[in-house]
Structures are given as C-alpha cells and as structure tokens.
C-alpha cells in the first residue's frame, strides 16, 4: 500500500467519526509515510511520534489511531502528532499549539 492509498482509506473511515486529516499536507503525508515505515518495522502502525516498544501488547495504546487521540482532539483540536485534527482546527478557529504527551512514561519499556 502506498501513502495515497492509505490516505484515501483512512479518510473514508475517520472523517465520518469527526477526525479529519490535518489540512497541512506537509504534516499529513510524512506522517502517513512514517505509519507505513512502522507497519514495516513492527507489523502494526505504531504512532510515529512516540517511542514504540516493538511489542504489540505493550504498544496497543499507541497504535494509530491511539487511545489518546479522543481527549487530545477534544482539548487541543489535534492528536499528539497533529495527523488527526478537528474540523475547527482545519478551519483555523482553534489556536494551533504543541500537544503535550499524555501517555504515561511507564509505558516505555527499557
């Protein structure tokens, strides 16, 4: 699957749920590329902006879309990576800010 196919496939599923891709393609397309990189690496699409453990069970919470997306989009208009955003975020009515990490650091095994 290439990045454009992934874009179309996810858009179809996520938009009706109220999660839009960031209209800034310079963000969205590299992030989708990275999801494909992680799929290749781990066998699942781990969040590209977080340090994955490489173990499915241990990374379950950060398989995109991560479990933190809902709260982050609600609070900041964007998920941690800013791949998924609200309609308002894309329309410019939400102030764009850096989304702080919500995942507990204990989830990183090392």
């Amino acid at each position: 699957m290439d990045v454009n196919q992934l874009y179309e496939m996810l858009k179809k599923v996520q938009e009706p749920k109220g999660y839009h891709f960031n209209a800034d393609k310079d963000m969205t397309m590299p992030l989708l590329e990275s999801l494909l990189t992680n799929k290749e690496r781990f066998g699942y699409m781990a969040c590209p902006c977080r340090l994955a453990n490489g173990d499915y069970e241990a990374d379950k919470d950060i398989i995109c879309p991560c479990v933190y997306r809902e709260e982050d989009v609600k609070e900041y208009g964007a998920c941690y990576c800013a791949l998924y955003v609200s309609k308002e975020f894309n329309e410019g009515s939400v102030e764009k800010q850096v989304v702080p990490e919500r995942r507990p650091p204990e989830k990183i095994l090392f």
Partner: protein, 115 residues
C-alpha cells in the same frame, strides 16, 4: 563507550544559514556541536520540523534517533532522555543547560539567546 556514543550521534548541518532563515539575535558562532543535543525519532514530524528549524537558525547540533537504537545503547539513551524530560517524549532538545520539550520555536529562540 564514548566511541559507541559518537557512532550513533549523527552530525548535521554545515553551519550555514538558509537564505530565508529568520533573523536571529544570538551569536550562532557561539554554539558548538556539543552545546545542542536533539533526542529525536526518525519517524516523528515534530522532530523533523525542529531539526529543520535549528538548521535554519544555522546552529550545529548532535542528533540521536532513539528509535533506531537497540539493546544497551537504547537503554542508556532512554535513561538520558528521562533525566532531561521525565515524559520521555520527542523531540527533547538540550541547549546547553536548557531543555526544550516538543517543537516550540519561541522556546528554542529563548534558549539560544541565553548564555
């Protein structure tokens, strides 16, 4: 150990600012490779944008892609990140004694301005 650390640190930037680089009020010559360290993930867009910004600022830095490390090296670096940033999130940018977590242009500017 130093040797292996050096190996994983990727040297970036030739020190030349981009023509459209933002006007900076700090002395980029005052910064050396060892002054700025970027803990990043190779897949992370915020890390990529932060590094691009540092490049535009014309400062030199060391970058380590933590996701590309394995074994003891990875443990050691994750511990290092934790000491600077307990959330172990990326990018973690250490500018001399200042730590900037996430890609905040203003915080990077402030950290570069200070002695």
């Amino acid at each position: 150990m130093f040797k292996s650390l050096k190996k994983i640190l990727k040297k970036k930037n030739d020190g030349m600012p981009e023509p459209d680089a933002p006007a900076k009020s700090f002395d980029m010559e005052a910064f050396h490779m060892n002054d700025i360290k970027v803990y990043a993930l190779s897949t992370c867009i915020h890390c990529r944008n932060a590094k691009k910004y540092l490049d535009e600022c014309g400062v030199k830095y060391e970058c380590v892609h933590v996701d590309e490390l394995t074994g003891d090296e990875r443990k050691q670096i994750v511990q290092e990140v934790k000491e600077h940033n307990p959330a172990v999130s990326f990018p973690t940018i250490v500018i001399r004694d200042k730590v900037v977590v996430g890609f905040h242009k203003d915080k990077i500017d402030d950290a570069l301005k200070e002695d």
